[in-house]
């Protein structure tokens, strides 16, 4: 099979987007849904075939470009190409994205049934899949940036799917603007990098022997090498998309979107784009800008813990999952940050591995949450309880996902997290400590959620909760299977920093510590939440202000609000608007009024008195004579 067929992985969802978008009033819901899902199915098959070909039919994992056209030419050397780049991580991402997408599409067929904007929904979802796929196969930074933006906008559209809900609109806006802000850095980074390297191409940029790149380390700007600066800026873009602190504030709000969207975009795929970006640029980071990589590790570790702590206190089921996502991406970033290159590249592999497994179990968690919300029409876990009776299958798959994320062997999360912890352990004990602590917290908040929702007391529901339809259950079951078994993939064989197989061994010490932490977390959750108890309340009361700070997400939102509302809006925009109207424009008007005023003031000159006229006439003559005599002599 030729790789050029990969282009269809992109074209299929794009076609669906255009068709569904243009014909949204003409198509029936069923047809539109199946059109989207079917195309995604084909795309998934193609992706798997490609992966099979790539990983198992060829001996070395070289970078392949089966398709490339010039899209826009800037200068003789700089141009944007549109193409497909196949290498281990992009192929892996193709598989992840298509698979999860397919599951979500299927799930949505059930979840979104009867919604008015059903076709629009699938259209946007297809747009997203297209953009995300385009992002991962990008051959150059600029193509990546373009799809990056497209991903952002599809995220915007989908978060704002319920556009008559003001919260959804606000959330969508926030998500877009925050990531836009990050992209600003990203863009500047790209421009800086491309200026010195004269190219956008990944193949050239990530080539460790690239002299231009090495040259960039020599040019310094404000104490940093330009390259470090550029990469840090690029990472800023990644951090925005991946909701790293302090650009994370949009992600919890993004949960206003339909739950399947959260599963696909805000859990499995889009938010890991930042990780993918760093991974894509990894050789450059690793060889030439270790400082930038340190920043990645630091931000990753910080977010990891930060999000985990917040997640423990939240009550909205989707927000908990959102903070969990942030935390897990923190793991991935941390892993990348502490990774070396080649044989020391355990962190890289671990990060990718975690990205892979996380996609399954986090998607599953969200779909499970969606199943619950679908049944209850509410999000607050305090109003849920004992759902295992009503939704047995959801309960099972949700449990599997919780175990996976908590890192209990043999579920997928255990393996990938273990590799990350190992990598952190090898690099810096503090990072390891943070990661291990967060592992415990993860287990705690996930099981807190689990126990509160599926155990506990029966609540009074408006109408009796029921198990979700088959269309929703099938994807959940598929993902559950994935969450169980993907851990056993020898991931290092396929994906590594230098495309050479990397043998990762289970680090027993680390494994024991992490499992212990996880079990500790589960136990605490069990004690607190298995039965209704007053303990959590007591503890939260004890910690007082601290607890409130955490509940309010460390007031980061408020700070942002302060900056945007008070400073930008009130202190900059309004004054500018005022300045423009009352100073600049007033000046222009003033020239007119002044002219009019002068005109009015001098009207006395034309007094109607003949003798005044004569007087002025004669004095004019005399004056001119005088002036001319003085100027001429």
């Amino acid at each position: 099979m030729s790789y050029s067929v990969t282009i269809f992985i992109l074209i299929l969802p794009l076609t669906v987007f255009v068709l569904n978008g243009l014909l949204s009033n003409k198509l029936s819901h069923r047809l539109a849904g199946w059109l989207a899902t079917g195309s995604m199915g084909i795309a998934t098959v193609l992706a798997w075939l490609t992966a099979y070909n790539y990983f198992f039919q060829s001996s070395s994992y070289e970078k392949l470009i089966p398709f490339q056209i010039t899209w826009l030419r800037f200068t003789e050397t700089l141009q944007i190409d549109m193409g497909i780049l196949l290498d281990p991580i992009s192929v892996m991402m193709l598989v992840v994205i298509t698979t999860v997408s397919l599951m979500v599409f299927l799930y949505s067929m059930g979840y979104m049934q009867g919604e008015k904007g059903f076709i629009r929904y699938f259209s946007f979802l297809s747009l997203f899949s297209f953009s995300m796929l385009g992002l991962v196969v990008a051959t150059n930074l600029f193509q990546l940036y373009m799809f990056w933006e497209l991903v952002g906008v599809s995220s915007y559209l989908l978060i704002g799917y319920y556009y008559d809900k003001p919260e959804a609109v606000a959330a969508a806006k926030k998500a877009f603007i925050v990531t836009r802000f990050a992209d600003f850095g990203f863009l500047v980074g790209i421009l800086l990098l491309s200026y010195y390297t004269g190219t956008f191409d990944f193949t050239k940029i990530t080539n460790p022997e690239n002299a231009a790149i090495a040259g960039m380390t020599g040019i310094s700007f404000m104490g940093l090498s330009v390259l470090t600066l550029a990469l840090t800026l690029i990472f800023m873009g990644g951090a925005g998309k991946s909701a790293m602190f302090p650009l994370h504030i949009w992600l919890p709000d993004a949960m206003e979107g339909p739950t399947p969207v959260s599963a696909l975009i805000h859990a499995a795929t889009m938010v890991v784009a930042g990780v993918f970006l760093v991974a894509r640029m990894f050789p450059v980071f690793s060889f030439h800008a270790p400082e930038a990589l340190d920043a990645v590790a630091f931000i990753g570790a910080f977010t990891l813990l930060f999000a985990a702590i917040i997640a423990c206190t939240q009550t909205d089921i989707k927000r908990i999952l959102a903070f969990s996502t942030m935390s897990q991406i923190g793991y991935m970033m941390l892993a990348l940050g502490v990774s070396g290159y080649g044989s020391e590249g355990l962190g890289f592999t671990a990060s990718m591995f975690h990205l892979f497994t996380h996609a399954f179990f986090k998607a599953l968690l969200f779909l499970g949450a969606g199943s619950i919300i679908h049944a209850l029409h509410k999000n607050d876990i305090r109003e849920m309880g004992n759902l295992r009776k009503h939704q047995p299958i959801t309960h099972i798959v949700f449990l599997i996902a919780c175990l996976a994320i908590a890192g209990i062997p043999p579920f997928a999360g255990f393996f990938s997290k273990d590799e990350i912890l190992s990598a952190a352990f090898a690099s810096n004990p503090i990072y390891f400590g943070i990661a291990a602590l967060a592992a415990g917290l993860t287990a705690f908040y996930m099981f807190r959620l689990y126990f509160l929702v599926f155990w506990g007391n029966e609540r009074t529901y408006e109408h009796s909760p029921h198990e979700s339809p088959v269309l929703m259950l099938i994807p959940m079951i598929v993902l559950a299977i994935g969450s169980i078994f993907t851990g056993f993939i020898p991931f290092g064989n396929f994906v590594s920093s230098d495309s050479q197989p990397l043998q990762a061994h289970l680090n027993v010490t680390v494994a024991i510590i992490s499992v212990m932490m996880a079990i500790l977390g589960i136990t605490v959750a069990w004690i607190f939440y298995k039965k209704e108890s007053l303990l959590p309340e007591k503890i939260s009361n004890m910690s007082g202000a601290l607890y409130h700070t955490v509940v309010r997400k460390f007031y980061i939102d408020e700070i942002y609000l302060f900056i945007t509302r008070k400073i930008i809006f009130n202190l900059i925009s309004r004054p500018i608007a005022w300045f423009d109207r009352h100073i600049i424009d007033a000046f222009m008007d003033f020239t007119a009024t002044a002219t009019n005023w002068v005109s009015k003031e001098i009207k006395g000159l034309q007094s109607g008195q003949l003798q005044h006229y004569g007087y002025i006439f004669l004095s004019g003559v005399i004056l001119i004579v005088l002036v001319m005599i003085f100027t001429n002599t």
Binding site: T70, W71, L72, R73, F74, T75, L78, I80, F142, Y145, M146, F147, E149, L150, V153, Y156, G160, Y163, D164, K165, P166, A168, V169, A170, A172, K173, F176, I177, R180, F181, D183, F184, L187, V188, L191, L192, S194, Y195, I568, F569, I572, S573, R574, I576, A577, W578, D580, I584, D585, F587, M588, D589, A592
Partner: protein
Amino acid sequence: MLLISLIVIPALTALAVMFARNAQQVKTLSATGMSIQLIQSFYLLYEFLKERSAGNSETVLFGNRLEWYPSLHISFDYGVDGISVAMILLTSIVIFTGVFASWEVKDQAKEFFASLIILATGVFGFFISLDLFVMFLFFELAVIPMYLLIGIWGSGKKEYSAMKLTLMLMAGSALLVVGILGIYFHSDVNGSHSFNIIDLANQNFPMEMQRIFFPLTFIGFGVIGALFPFHTWSPDGHSSAPTAVSMLHAGVLMKLGGYGCLKVAIYLMPQAANEMAWIFLILTSISVIYGALGVIAQTDLKYINAYSSVSHCGLVLFALLMLNKTASNGAVLQMISHGLMTALFFALIGMLYSRTHTRIVHEMGGLMKVLPFLSVCYVIAGLASLGLPGLSGFVAEMTIFVGAFQHPDMFHRVITIIAISSIVVTAVYILRVVGGLLMGPIKNEEYNNLKDATWYERLATVTLIAAIVIIGIAPLWLSDIIMESLGVILR
């Protein structure tokens, strides 16, 4: 001949419209004329590409020189390069859609369409002429009908706005007169003076002369290109103008500024441009960011769009002042892109206004539900404006930024980054508007009965969107023909 008919057709249309008997005839005539114009423009593009691919590498194609005032060396020189072709295409698209966007003008329709088309004639003439005098003639011809169009068919403070707009633009063109004449009298083409741009480009004007006339010319054109601080006509003018006029004005007329700056100021006086660029770079970067920040505090849709035009057009001049091919290419692309999308914006604002009778954002809301077609178009325009890939805005902005980044020194870097930061602000205000206007709950009961777009409105918006999308998806051909011409201009 092809080029001549580009100005003859609209002129004849305007004339024919004056003799039409009723509003229906007026509209039919205008639509027919402008359709022919649109077809002609595409044919021109086709011919142009054909010639170029056949290896014809002359600076301008299809040109000719008709002696007019030999004693003053004024001749009607015309001809097109890639940039002009692109601008002509833009103009014919915008005027075509403008006609349909003003389908509902009932009051003195005859005069309205005639003035509108005369304005377009001026623009077409401006883009094809190579003689400074003739260019200036068409420039003013394009400005004046604006007064009547805004004054008679406008809304709000229309008289004030019309007057202000006309006077400020005329003040700009007053500076141009000085600039043009300065250039003319300092030229020496075979022992005589010349108005011909191509001839003048080979002149090496002394630096002292350039120092005086470059700023005059640049500011002269800059006023209509909304150069800070001479941009204040724009918010008032746009907010008072009727739909099609806003479209044409923001879409095309403001582009005369950029085009003139490039083809007259920079082309003819490159050394001064180089020397003085920094002053204007500061002004334009202020335009860019100031305009964008200014939008946030606005509540009237037209003001929002007007300020955003200030910001976007600031970017055009900003890019031109980078004085390299990439950035200038971006500038031209931005002119086209902004032309299309701002026309779309104004068309939509007009259509919304005709339904809701308000332009204040917070008085509306949830229009997506009742006016899905218009709302989707609005979102697309918004996305184009904030530079979404796949739509024209992205292509233009990125080309500008990449080009601007070719200057490695601190000043250009800083100023470029400031300009780039506008993309964030743009996102902020676009999304605010989209959120407030189209999303959320419906604020006014009466809006539930609103009717979505009619056929002519659909035709207008779809044409514009199609153009935006085509350029956004496949920009290479456009960028290439522009780049080719820039090779001559920025030697």
